[in-house]
Symmetry: C2
Subunit: 418 residues, 2 copies
């Protein structure tokens, strides 16, 4: 019999249907037993009164995979107003009576983060964790859709590089056929070069940081949503594209999940770094924004503009990577920006240098970057771009306290398994 | 003035427009000069008769980025029937008079593969190379669309792993905060575990093989299109999904590019390995199909079924990885398959084991695979999946002799730059 999903049961009252899924919860009462069966779409309630079936169910522990053929019966007290009665049950997986480190039917995973991560194959089945990963998938889909609509072409770039991408710090070293090589910290150089081919490009892929920090927001591998576009006037053209991208990501999350999403203004308020320091009450010679300053800016944007998003532009050149384009009117500042969401940095981007001679003047080791500088030597238009950390975006959106809660199998200072 | 694309010029005769792009070709004749300007959409022909503009153009070498404001003039002899006359030209990039290792306006890149790869930033601008990468982007988009339509959820899995994924061979080792770790050879284990969460999952991401072979089809990093689905009867359900996926990929390539595509039958012919040996005229005790056998099968499929695609099923268990599900009727054979396209292997897939006790019996080092085996311990449905190598797919479709021709910045035994 053709299997249907839990969400397809309502409306089929009095019919016989077959569902399949995991025993999410088993309740053995005196005269009746209940199974809550979880599938990818939701939950079904199965009612068992037949002693022979009850005996069978007593041997099947939670998380056993079952196929259930039963009658759909209206019951206003059941979830979605229906339950399955008179079931025939077939176990599809092993029904190993294992002790579980936590129970999936509780609203919260009652275990330490380390225990959850040690048993990721189980923990990710918890509805809250699965929902976060659905938000992640929706956000990536929204990112791609927004860019495809604007002529961006998807690229795939090397994750193994001969030169540490932006600096020698926090880079993983590997043995590449007997010689040292490195894991790419970002696709920055490659996406810039590909502007020379397609004008507008994007990539969704892993980046690697040998972060020595053990915090709630650092991962050794995360998914970077990168975009780069040519023929811009300056960084404001990049910010305009980014605004449409954030709006697209949020819209896709809203359409695919039940997670509440923020409003994205059609024009996100923007303040220059100098002004941002004043708003945050920081000294005028402060070289960067501290977390407290970012929070103050977030509050200011809500108060003054009714926006949970705010751009800070013009960050000091000294704090930005070498390929950053200076602000033409005052080269202490840059044509770069950060996008803050609820008082936290969500995206970094800006205009890049595009003239070969400018790169020769600032590149830290031009002889090591020949393949990169080639692109500028042969002609590159004014361009810029941005990078969104997918896991941080999802953590901010879902309110997760730790980025590990929204990552399938996180990698950090202490963890390389499972 | 708002820039338009080269493809937007026809129909704007007698109007003044602004285009921008790269000087693809410059021809300085006696009384007139021509620029062919390349943008992401195509080419425009600019005609220069004004001596002052000609003098300016003489200093701008090919690949200089220019913005051209000019009149649209009908000319039946020009590409698309229009050209740009009376131009004002502004250089947007450096116009460094560099010697180029090859010329982009020739139909073929007249240089060795090594020279092309050394200067990838330039070579990728050649229309043939850019087209191959557009085919690659279209194929990945078609893969995702076909699966999203069938309830598959996108996942992102670790590329750094604590245990060599499938075997110890051909794996890159890295220094992970002072301990050894490895680059993932495939997302196999993770996509299987995620079947326990979403039932149906897919991933588009890099995989790494320390291939000691220097051939036209091996890369040290390639893009793997992976899918895995639960609640299958056997491998034939996986083959049915794969058939829709290949059809979707081909359809998207057809809709986005001018590359000729093959017909994908709604049911691709399938032959069992035993039968495949007979068709190929190979001895019955042959343990695997040699390239000549695959070619013979490809010819047979065209001859007998009018199909450029053919499935071979039931490969000997001895030749398949430990997680492969045996053929229930005869455990010498497996519920696995390869998909051949034009006589070459394009996809590998099959049904996997799903019972914990079966894994304990066959896993090469169960104690090292605890995080993987966890998923089966807690209950996993019958499932299977497949992996498509994106670069090989694109090479077969475009007829590229070397997979490096369809890869932006390939990595191989000898190359880790640019």
């Amino acid at each position: 019999m053709q299997r249907i999903l839990s969400t397809e049961i309502p409306g089929k009252e009095k019919q016989t249907v077959t569902i399949a899924g995991w025993i999410h919860r088993r309740r053995l009462l005196k005269s009746v037993a209940f199974l809550i069966v979880r599938d990818a779409a939701g939950f079904s309630q199965v009612v068992i009164t037949d002693p022979a079936v009850r005996e069978q169910v007593e041997a099947l522990t939670e998380e056993t995979v079952v196929e259930v053929t039963a009658q759909v019966t209206a019951n206003p007290a059941a979830p979605a107003g229906v339950e399955l009665t008179g079931p025939q049950i077939r176990a599809l997986s092993s029904a190993v009576g294992v002790h579980k480190p936590f129970e999936l039917h509780r609203p919260e995973l009652g275990a330490t983060m380390a225990t959850q991560l040690d048993h990721a194959a189980l923990a990710l089945r918890h509805p809250s964790r699965a929902t976060a990963l659905r938000v992640s998938a929706a956000a990536a889909a929204g990112f791609r859709e927004a860019l495809e609509r604007q002529r961006f072409v998807e690229i795939h770039t090397p994750k193994i590089v001969g030169t540490a991408t932006e600096s020698g710090a926090n880079v993983f070293t590997l043995d590449y056929f007997g010689s040292p090589a490195y894991l790419a910290q970002s696709p920055q150089f490659y996406k810039q070069l590909m502007v020379g081919v397609f004008e507008r490009v994007y990539e969704v892929g892993p980046v690697f940081r040998a972060e020595p920090h053990d915090t709630a927001r650092h991962l050794a591998q995360y998914t970077s949503l990168d975009a780069e576009l040519g023929f811009i006037a300056d960084h404001r053209d990049v910010m305009a594209v980014l605004t449409t991208v954030i709006a697209g990501m949020v819209a896709t999350v809203e359409s695919r999940t039940a997670v509440p999403v923020p409003a994205v203004p059609s024009e996100i308020p923007a303040v220059h770094f100098e002004e941002a320091l004043r708003i945050a009450g920081a000294p005028a010679d402060e070289p960067d924004l501290a977390p407290a300053h970012e929070r103050a800016l977030g509050e200011w944007a809500v108060r003054e503009h009714g926006s949970e998003f705010v751009f800070v532009t013009g960050y000091p050149m000294a704090k930005r990577p070498f390929y950053t384009h200076p602000q033409p009117s005052d080269p202490r500042w840059s044509n770069s920006f950060d996008l803050l969401f609820r008082g936290l940095e969500l995206v970094t981007g800006g205009q890049r240098l595009h003239r070969y001679e400018d790169y020769l003047a600032v590149a830290p080791a031009p002889e090591k970057l020949a393949g990169y500088l080639d692109g500028f030597r042969y002609g590159m238009p004014p361009h810029g771009g941005f990078a969104i950390g997918l896991e941080r975006f999802v953590a901010r959106l879902t309110g997760a306290a730790n980025v590990r809660e929204v990552t399938a199998f996180p990698r950090d200072l202490h963890r390389v398994t499972p």
